[in-house]
Amino acid sequence: MALALAAAIRRGERTCLAVAEEAVRRARTSKLNAFARVDATATNRKLPDGPLRGVPVAVKDSICIKDETPTAGSRAVGSWKAREDAFAVARLREAGANVIGSTNCDEFGMGSTGETCQRGFTRHPLDLRRAPGGSSSGSAAAVASSIVPLALGSDTGGSIRLPAAWCGVVGVKPTYGRVSRRGLLAYCSSTDCVGVFARSVEDAAFALGLIAGHDDGDATSSQECVPDYLSMLSIPTNDRVASINVEVDDDIESVVAGASNALKADQCDALSPQFLRDCAAAYHVLAAAEAHSNLARYHVNHENPPFGAEVTRRVALGKRLLGERHAEGLYERAVDVRAQARARLDDVLSSVDVLMLPVAPTAAPKLNAPSVITKEARGSLARDLRDDLPRDYANDFLTAFASLAGLPALSVPFGRTSGGLPVGVQVVGKAFDEAAVLRTARRLELIRDDALSSPARRVLLSEDD
């Protein structure tokens, strides 16, 4: 774990060199295809004296590292090299973290399994035939397989929470504007968030505290002051928790119900499954529209940029939705759904502090899994957009609403399926109340660890544990 490792280095029990060498070696030899690039110079780098001095970190390959090409899982970026570190990368480096390389991801973040990466897909650390989740696949897999204790990812509609849930690590998507997007290759600028993966809530809280804060270079970055998330984890509170009922696999449902019971959560009925799916549909409309605009720069030097099929599809969809299909009104309906989502969540979160729900309807699926067909209500946005949604659209059902509303959300591992695959619980909070979200996750983590050490309470977990 990151903080424990940093402490061991400070105490002289480990050396930066040895730690870096091990991380680089493991990143290179891993069979997961988690890394797009491993930086050999990481082993002879002078690291500033900070709280994370010597801690190896990995960075999603859609986040800029000075003098490197952030491929974003695409060939379209070509050989362009970044002029400077992304804001979040610079913050981690200032704290002494050692950036050992960049991790594979779905192309420009457009995917939920890692399979749209043009550098090949990342494999699930517990089952090589399964998808680790996306789009921040490599970062989640690298942390889950302990190559690094900490990694940066980005979450646009669920791209941190989903792979965190499937790989069994903590993944935090902060409030929109909490972490600067400068240096993140844009996909859907109005929901893109840089966040962290860690193996514990404490590590995640600490890392988030480092990368959060105002940046003059990002006009959407917030001026809101950053609390000490780590110290706020242990403050006893009366956070009111409500859980949202959704249709998911039985294994998932029982794990989340366990979490819900443990926290004595109330029931929240204000957010129906159809509404959540409409949020996901709206997210896909807005994301396609913004992607078409954001990725246009790769057309300037290429008549037809070498985009993969999914990116090509989404960009073309965005172009049509703003262009010849504009009259269908789907874009405006998506904008409406976004406004409704914000209003409704504002309302719900005025009486509770955090919402709890699953991250995804299933645990990590086999690679190249068939698409999930859902029944959508007549007249719903999801139904009217049916033919334009991606194959793996069902994976966004439970995460997109928080992205649309810009709320902080995370996934914390809490139990396993009967097949032994990790299950994550999603916690969503009020804007800029990452502290409550992290605190709730910490409570779940303690309950889980307690259960792990006490055979009598294994009811929370699957028998494989």
Partner: protein, 475 residues
């Protein structure tokens, strides 16, 4: 090709005949004005129209991956100034940005940041003589790269104000006058340097003709980079369209350029019509409360050319002279000279005449006080016009002041009777034949003798008094 043929045929026709007056010209203008901000619109690069290509660029204005725009606060402030100077009734309370999504090599991001939903200002007007030209809107946007031999991104991201008029203009002359006035407005309020030759002010014109109220297809004339081009291109296009209709043809909607003698087809506008505007997610709406509070409307109104003309007229100029001075940016100079005691009309004539003939730009050594002293000396009779003209180039260099230079160069008029009679005596001495003939009755020779006296006096003598002295000597 067809267009070429038509144009060639028309060229011949245009030389020989005028279009019938049944067609009413309809002209609207879109001006792009580079705002005089210390940085580009969305990055910290310093704008320059003269720096070597691609030396004023960064990741943001090059649209590099991971780069984000941050809006300068200077651009809206200058835009609002221009809007107030253009008499705009509606000023936006919130600054909102949009993306205009289209592909063009000069557009590094594949979209232009502009204002599509809510322009910075609406409903302004510009007065040209007794005609009011309505301003539809003023909105902010970023400039594109410039296509020369290389693609020069120095221009990419420079803050622009696009100013759009209603189709209120009726001739090429009026269109040019409007551009001239607009240039003065944005320059004088400090919004832009507005130099046409540097592309700081660029003019696109929409031209169509109507007949009996029927609206016809319009063409867009692009990149008219001088007032002359605006006037000639509009007039050419108006005649071309009228003649096309007269001969039973129709006008195509297209984008035309101007080559100095005729319009030509640049590109078809059909494909570019779909801009797929979308809100700019990287730039949250910004309340303009503070900027609006900072606006000093009275002070901005004082900067306008109409206020300048008012001041000139109040100082004693006729309105035509006032306009000429304002157009040439000489009004402040004149008013200062008037403050120093000079007569307004006389000073204006000097400024527009002799001074302008010497140089298009006033050197710093020539001050309003110098003009006032010069004009004053002439009015007081201490300096003849001729001497004054002689002195002017001296004043354009380092000099000692008008009085001292008159003294030093002995240019002052001399009233002294001895000086006059001395000159007269010299000339009479040197011209015995003429004097003899005059005395014999050839009175016309007085003129010759007078001329010689004047020449000898080098303009310093009052002709009347010198004449009197001559007459006395000849008696």
């Amino acid at each position: 090709m067809l267009q070429r043929v038509i144009t060639a045929r028309l060229q011949a026709v245009l030389r020989t005949r005028r279009a019938s007056s049944g067609f009413r010209p309809v002209i609207g203008i879109e001006c792009h004005v580079q705002l005089n901000t210390p940085t580009k619109a969305f990055c910290r690069c310093a704008p320059s129209t003269t720096a070597p290509p691609n030396t004023r660029v960064c990741g943001v204005c090059l649209g590099e991956p991971g780069s984000l725009p941050v809006a300068s606060t200077d651009a809206p402030l200058l835009g609002l100034k221009a809007a107030v100077a253009l008499d705009c009734d509606e000023l936006a309370e919130t600054l909102e940005w949009d993306r205009k999504n289209y592909q063009y090599p000069d557009l590094p991001k594949g979209y232009q940041i502009t204002q599509a939903r809510t322009p910075l200002a609406r409903s302004g007007k510009v007065q040209i003589d007794d005609r009011t030209i309505r301003i539809t809107s003023l909105h902010l946007e970023e400039d594109s790269a410039k296509t020369t031999d290389v693609l020069d991104h120095n221009r990419a991201g420079i803050a622009l104000a696009e100013i759009v008029t209603e189709p209120d203009l009726r001739s090429g002359t009026e269109a040019a006058a409007f551009v001239r006035e607009l240039q003065q407005v944005v320059k004088r309020c400090g919004a832009s340097r507005a130099r046409l030759e540097h592309g700081e002010l660029r003019v696109d014109v929409n031209v169509s003709v109507t007949q009996e109220g029927e609206v016809r297809e319009r063409v867009e004339l692009k990149n008219l980079n001088s007032l002359r081009a605006v006037r000639l291109a509009c007039d050419f296009e108006l005649r071309r369209q009228a003649l096309l209709y007269e001969s039973g043809d129709t006008v195509q909607r297209e984008t035309l350029g101007w080559n100095g003698s005729e319009t030509y087809v640049m590109r078809d506008k059909g494909g570019a019509a779909e801009y797929r505007f979308s809100p700019e997610p990287d730039l949250p709406p910004l309340p303009l409360t503070e900027a609006l509070a900072q606006l000093d409307r009275v002070q901005i109104e004082e900067t306008t050319p109409r206020a300048a003309r008012r001041r000139c007229v109040a100082a004693g100029l006729d309105s035509e002279t006032a306009s000429l001075l304002v157009d040439r940016d000489l009004d402040a100079f004149l008013l200062e000279a008037v403050d120093s005691g000079a007569d307004a009309m006389t000073s204006a004539r000097w400024l527009l005449g002799e001074v302008a003939a010497l140089s298009t730009e006033l050197p710093s050594s020539f001050t309003p006080r110098d003009l006032a002293d010069l004009v004053g000396a002439v009015a007081a009779g201490t300096l003849s016009r001729r001497s004054a003209k002689e002195l002017l180039p001296v004043l354009f260099q380092e000099h000692l002041g008008v009085a001292a230079e008159i003294e030093k160069r002995g240019l002052a008029r001399v009233d002294d009777a001895d000086f006059m009679s001395g000159i007269v005596a010299e000339i009479i001495d040197e011209s015995p034949d003429e004097v003899a003939l005059f005395r014999a009755g050839k009175t016309k020779l007085r003129k010759v003798l007078m001329g010689r006296c004047m020449k000898r006096a080098r303009g310093r003598a009052d002709p009347k008094k010198l004449g009197e002295a001559l007459d006395e000597a000849l008696l």
